[in-house]
């Protein structure tokens, strides 16, 4: 499949961008539309260690406990729309028929019941694990030991055929070089690893995901450079951390944007993945909805742009939380409450026509907190997007020039 390169910006100016609105909204799932005037909370979770003991224990954890808790709390709090995200554990990609299929089917069955009974708009993103190992081979036929490239594709097929609404992945291509480059603070190596090799890997996997989605009448959402740019960001850390300069991390984010864009060039519709902090940049280029995470993801990690990154989001996520009890209920219930109320604030701002004011408050709060938050402020994100689009047909230049 040919890729449709972005060589011009879909938005005419940065000010056109705001949370809850995308140029190209996407409908899927049980009455869900993303990017059409409303921010939707996207709750993400992880099973407790040991739940993967066998297919039934894993199904019970995901369906009977986690999904039911999420749906009960969404109805209790009166949220009109919720998206669930299931980031698959290793067993689900290693043996999809046994471990993945019952979970995917069971979650959807329960969601349908709540949708029918309460009218809540629901959808679920299945983020397939990418266990491919560079040392064994990233392409089919190369990994003779585990067959991970083949299993990864199979896991997409099983998810799409059994209840997924949206397919995503955090691909690993280029990470072996990018990790080396981070440790050596070598920007050329990082550009080669993520900007070039990572884009080539995306060009291989994403047309296949899009085809699987089309065949099963579901949506291919998008990717994230969690494996690369988030590694930089978290190693750079905050004000107490001195190992990796935050200027290095900021520049890697700009490079990563060109890689993440490839999924949409292959025909994915969005929304992309929440942990892709490059979302404002790719949304500025392509006009597709983006998922983001920030202050509502403190259960998973600390970043230096907890408010700013909400500025142009279409889904607002908690990143991921391990299932466990907290004072206010189970962890998934508590964190759904957190992101659901934030989405309600954004949606109220839209109804009162104060959304651009709130967007600018979010942005101003963290604009100068770090170099990375500064380049992701929507006005600067737009400029970086322009540098990508102006060189859209050359995967090297479009990663180098926005850096």
């Amino acid at each position: 499949m040919a890729l449709k390169r972005y060589t011009k910006m879909e938005y005419g100016s940065p000010d056109e961008m705001v949370f809850g609105e995308a140029k190209y909204p996407v409908s899927y799932g049980l009455g869900q539309t993303v990017g059409a005037g409303m921010v939707i909370p996207e709750v993400n979770f992880a099973p407790r260690p040991g739940a993967e003991k066998n297919p039934e224990t894993l199904r019970r954890e995901y369906v009977d406990y986690i999904t039911k808790d999420v749906l009960d709390r969404a109805i209790t709090l009166g949220f009109p729309a919720v998206q669930l995200e299931n980031e698959h554990v290793f067993q689900m990609v290693n043996d999809p028929e046994k471990f993945e299929k019952p979970v995917v089917a069971g979650q959807k069955e329960l969601m349908q019941k709540y949708h029918d009974e309460y009218g809540i708009a629901l959808s679920i993103r299945h983020t397939i694990a990418d266990p491919r190992l560079a040392e064994e081979g990233l392409r089919p036929g190369m990994d003779k030991k585990h067959s991970y490239p083949e299993k990864t594709i199979e896991a997409f097929e099983v998810a799409a055929a059994n209840g997924a609404d949206l397919l995503s992945v955090e691909t690993m291509g280029g990470k072996e070089v990018a990790d080396y480059a981070i440790l050596h603070q070598d920007i050329r190596g990082w550009l080669f690893g993520i900007g070039y090799l990572g884009s080539l890997d995306m060009e291989w996997i994403w047309p296949q995901i899009v085809e699987i989605a089309k065949k099963n009448k579901v949506r291919a959402g998008g990717d994230t450079n969690c494996a690369g740019a988030n590694t930089s960001m978290f190693m750079a850390g905050g004000y107490l951390d001195k190992d990796i300069p935050r200027t290095f991390s900021a520049v890697t984010r700009a490079i990563a944007s060109a890689r993440t864009l490839v999924a949409w060039e292959a025909g994915a519709t969005g929304p992309d993945k929440d942990c892709g902090y490059e979302g404002p940049i790719v949304k500025a280029i392509a006009g597709k909805p983006c998922a983001q995470e920030g202050k509502g993801a403190q259960c998973a990690h600390a970043d230096l742009m907890g408010n700013l990154i909400a500025q142009v989001c279409d889904l607002w996520s908690n990143e991921s939380v391990e299932y466990h009890p907290e004072f206010g209920g189970s962890s998934v219930q508590c964190w759904l409450g957190n992101i659901g109320y934030e989405a309600a604030l954004m949606n109220t701002a839209k109804q009162l026509k104060q959304d651009k004011l709130l967007r600018d408050l979010y942005m101003a709060t963290d604009r100068y907190r770090s170099p990375e938050s500064f380049i992701l402020a929507y006005d600067n994100a737009y400029k970086i997007g322009q540098a990508i689009a102006e060189n859209g047909n050359d995967i090297y230049l479009r990663a180098k020039l926005p850096a």
Binding site: L133, A134, E135, G137, L138, R139, M142, G173, E176, V177, Y180, Q185, D186, I187, R188, G189, L191, F192, Y196, L197, L200, D201, K242, P245, R246, T247, F248, A250, V251, R253, A254, Y368, P371, F374, I375, N380, K383, I384, Q386, A387, D394, I395, Y396, L397, K400, L401, P402, A403
Partner: protein
């Protein structure tokens, strides 16, 4: 070098505070990126030589 230049300008304007460590890195990034060729082929040749010994890196994974 859009991102690096944006950071540099805002730092010079005094609004974005950077430590010396971060400023040094920024200067190094600008120098390193400025030294790169404009042609994709030259860049790839350069990198395949420079990074061939990175453990786990196999150009065949990318059809190179």
């Amino acid at each position: 070098m859009t991102a690096a230049r944006l950071i540099e300008e805002e730092s010079k304007a005094g609004k974005l505070k950077l430590s010396k460590h971060e400023q040094d890195m920024l200067r190094r990034i600008i120098t390193d990126l400025s030294a790169l060729p404009d042609e994709q082929g030259k860049f790839v040749d350069q990198c395949l030589k420079a990074y061939k010994d990175i453990p786990m890196f196999n150009p065949r994974n990318y059809d190179l």
